[in-house]
């Protein structure tokens, strides 16, 4: 009786929902362990914040669904000569508050990105000058030919000039002024989503922007909640209170794979993990050993042979990583497919150490963060036991990132053995040479993250040449050759390329990019 009564009712429900489906409001409930630190697109240069804001603000160019660089606020561009670029801006674009987008907004945003309080000055480091040719055309002149200007411009978000000036946000947030930073908690971009409400650390609501110029998926509302505790985060996904969790803690992959109505989505991330060794001090620090063993190439090779990266991937990373042969992953321009990794072999490692004059190994201290990378603390513990097999005694200092980074970065570089990683934000290996692999030259902004202090002048020369070569094929060859030289010199011991792992409800379609971007306009709720 009950059945016969319910059947027509449920049919009616299905019908009515089918009828309203196209116009239905689709809410995507998103959760992550971190939150955007600010809504100002030129203030905090932190990857989660940048990618969160890329849904609200847009740049001249952006990555499309397939990760190719494509025009966003710039409709097209041409090069007048080796250093002059002309960008034709997109017509009919409006900001969330309704005002029209034009060249003065671009010029204003570039000024703003270069101002004293900005953390995005590096984006325009290669730029000599820029000007508005007319209302819808902008010209950029670089100091020298810059083959990756478009990659650099990916991170330059465009604000509305009138809005920013009217609200006292003409410059990025100044941390020492007493004024309230309007742009930290309010946003007005041209992106597919606008900010409805924002309570940092609690909840942020975005709504699809009606006047968006481009295509967007069917998501009309995004509710973003930071959930710091990993167990709570996963429970929220399992109980259906959130639709998408990024990233998913590795230890919970099996639980989500077995769970009903939820799935694991993963792909390779552009972050390469590596072990660094002091190659610039005459005496390594925090170690009883005399002198610096790492100055001997054979010792560096021995360490590379002794660290079983595959075992770390299988055990510590639960298979969610791929072996790294070099210091960038395959989707980064300049990746050298011919390079191989020094094989895991304890005997080879031991004989290399003996040749170098350390038959019984030596003792050293390793610095490691515990809350920055996926399972970083455990990777270091595994390294300690792997190195013990060749007689190297490692005293591990596993510390929170708040203690780790001040210790190891410029100007002190206070470590002689450490775990670190790098993501080239431009997806071009030149970025890695300028920051991590290039011979340290802090005045000129090179090698600020070259904590190992390694130096291969030939590779420096190749990278410098690649920086001004416009011919893409020739340039790529230079970068590949430079990478080969660095790997041969064992500047660092490459470990693995981390996987990007998200947990999602079955009905959510997502697009993953190797840079952790989450372009919500490509996401769909089915």
């Amino acid at each position: 009786m009950l059945k016969t009564y319910l059947a027509p009712l449920s049919t009616a429900l299905v019908l009515s929902s089918a009828l309203v489906a196209p116009a239905q409001a689709e809410t995507l409930r998103l959760a992550s362990q971190s939150d955007a630190t600010s809504l100002d697109p030129h203030s905090h240069n932190e990857s989660f914040t940048n990618y969160f804001l890329a849904n609200i603000y847009e740049g001249l160019v952006a990555r499309d669904r397939t990760f190719e660089i494509t025009g966003q606020l710039a409709e097209s561009w041409e090069q007048l000569d080796a250093t002059t670029w002309r960008f034709k801006l997109r017509d009919g674009v409006t900001f969330h508050d309704g005002s029209a987008f034009a060249a003065d907004d671009v010029i204003f945003s570039m000024d703003r990105a270069l101002s004293e309080t900005s953390n995005f000055k590096h984006v325009l480091a290669s730029v000599e000058s820029y000007r508005a040719v007319d209302d819808m055309t902008v010209e950029i002149v670089t100091k020298a030919p810059n083959p990756i200007l478009l990659n650099d411009l990916l991170d330059l978000m465009i604000l509305d000039k009138q809005w920013a000036e009217a609200n006292g946000a003409a410059e990025p947030i100044n941390l020492q002024t007493e004024e309230k930073a309007f742009s930290a908690t309010n946003a007005n971009g041209t992106g597919p989503f606008s900010v409805m409400s924002r309570a940092q650390g609690e909840k942020t609501t975005l709504t699809a922007f009606d006047g968006y110029w481009g295509e967007s998926g069917n998501v009309t509302e995004v509710v973003f909640t930071p959930i710091n505790n990993a167990a709570t985060l996963v429970s929220a996904l399992l109980s259906g209170e959130v639709d998408l969790v990024m990233p998913l803690p590795l230890q919970d992959i099996a639980r989500i794979e077995a769970g009903e109505g939820v799935k694991v989505v993963s792909s390779a991330e552009a972050r390469t993990m590596y072990i660094g060794m002091d190659q610039w001090r005459d005496q390594i620090i925090e170690s009883p050993v005399e002198g610096n063993p790492f100055l001997d190439l054979r010792v560096r090779q021995a360490i590379a042979h002794a660290v079983d990266a595959q075992a770390i991937i299988d055990r510590v990373m639960q298979g969610q990583a791929t072996l790294a042969t070099q210091y960038v992953m395959e989707k980064v321009n300049g990746y050298n497919p011919d390079l191989t990794r020094l094989e895991y072999n304890v005997e080879t490692a031991k004989s290399l150490l003996t040749e170098a004059g350390y038959p019984d190994g030596f003792e050293l201290t390793m610095d490691c963060s515990t809350d920055r990378y996926v399972n970083d603390g455990q990777i270091c513990q595994a390294t300690v036991s792997l190195l013990a097999r060749i007689g190297i005694t490692v005293n591990l200092i596993a510390q929170p990132k708040a203690q780790f980074f001040p210790k190891v970065v410029a100007p002190d570089f206070g470590t002689s053995f450490f775990l670190l990683s790098w993501t080239p934000s431009t997806m071009d290996s030149l970025n890695v040479f300028q920051n991590v692999l290039g011979t340290r030259d802090l005045e000129n902004g090179v090698g600020a993250w070259n904590i190992s202090g390694c130096s291969v002048p030939e590779a420096d020369a190749l990278a410098a040449e690649a920086a001004v070569t416009m011919d893409a094929a020739a340039r790529e060859k230079m970068l590949q050759d430079a990478m080969a030289l660095m790997v041969e010199d064992v500047c660092l011991v490459p470990l693995h390329v981390q996987q990007l792992v998200w947990g999602a409800a079955e009905n959510i379609d997502v697009v993953q990019h190797p840079t952790f971007e989450f372009p919500l306009e490509y996401f769909n709720v089915n």
Binding site: N119, T185, S239
Partner: protein, 322 residues
């Protein structure tokens, strides 16, 4: 009046000490500049920011500057939120107050009768059961209990939301999530976790005090006089157990305020505790300092209140006999 002034002076000294200890500890929480800037920022830019934030000054100079501003009601601007610290605390405080009120009221309502009952009938089956439950409440860590509750009530049964604070409503000018069903359903589990621990502590204290008092001579004398049980237990025994109990309750409730951190973390409750965790992660010194001072303030005030309550419940204090 003199009493009050003396207490206020003591409180000020306590808070200055709290802030000083805090500042000495802050040297080890890490470098706030590194959590503010990106990986591509040059060394000079980082150094300039550090200088302009005053982080290169000696720690005592930073402390003095901080106290001078704090006296004028200015707690600075949070490095990581870019907002007034006092405003941030005002934002987060109501959420924590809700949890403290809910769990505090429930634990008192349950602990007082249960404590008296177990004190009087300490051999009975019900009393034994209550005591067992209270041991569980005191000994299970709150994060474990929280996760268990989430697993059972959110993941398996799907009855209660697992995280966050619910919808707000305004009643008599007060804005709180306790006025909506949705809000109450969010607050139930975190409040229960906090309540269970408080319950165990207060209940056991009341029971122990009751047992102590029931052995004293004046209770025996009361029985000898043939007074009815109700008057002996409630009129004579209970009243005399209250002084230590009030002290403990005052401290317990203020520690709920200050240290509901783990519970707030597990349930992603947007209160003071989760704010503190964020501040530690980001080395946000202005926020940390203000939090410490706030905690000092809560304890000082609750102690002042407890002192006042003593006078009300114990005539000997009022008449200077003690």
């Amino acid at each position: 009046m003199y009493f009050l002034l003396a207490r206020l002076f003591q409180a000020t000294v306590v808070m200055l000490c709290v802030a000083l200890v805090g500042f000495l500890v802050f040297q080890f929480v890490g470098d706030p500049v590194l959590s503010l800037v990106g990986q591509e920022t040059t060394v000079e830019d980082r150094e300039a920011l550090r200088e302009s934030l005053g982080l290169n000054d000696p720690i005592l100079v930073q402390y003095a500057r901080y106290v001078m501003n704090a006296v004028q009601g200015d707690f600075g601007i949070s490095y990581s939120f870019n907002r007034d610290v006092s405003e941030m605390i005002a934002d987060r405080l109501p959420a924590t107050v809700e949890l403290v009120l809910l769990s505090g009221v429930f634990s008192l309502l349950l602990a007082i009768p249960a404590g008296i009952y177990t004190g009087i009938r300490r051999k009975g089956g019900i009393a034994q059961t209550i005591m067992t439950i209270s041991i569980i409440g005191v000994s299970i860590p709150s994060f474990l209990l929280g996760i268990l509750l989430i697993l059972v009530f959110s993941v398996w049964l799907n009855w209660l939301p697992s995280f966050g604070r619910g919808d707000l409503a305004t009643v008599f000018g007060l804005r709180s999530s306790l006025f909506t069903w949705n809000g109450l359903s969010h607050a139930l589990m975190p409040a229960a976790v906090l309540c269970l621990f408080q319950l165990g502590v207060i209940l056991r204290l009341i029971r122990a005090e009751m047992l102590e008092v029931l052995r004293t001579d004046y209770i025996r004398f009361a029985w000898a006089r043939g007074l009815p049980g109700k008057r002996v237990y409630f009129g004579h025994a209970l009243k005399n157990t209250l002084v230590p109990v009030v002290t403990a309750v005052g401290l317990q409730l203020s520690s709920l305020f200050a240290f509901s951190i783990i519970t707030e973390l597990v349930f992603q409750w947007p209160g003071m505790g989760s704010l503190l965790l964020h501040a530690i992660g980001q080395s946000d010194i202005p926020l940390l300092a203000a939090y410490l001072i706030f905690v000092g303030l809560v304890f000082t005030i609750s102690n002042l209140i407890v002192d006042g309550v003593y006078v009300l419940i114990d005539p000997r204090i009022r008449h200077g006999a003690l």
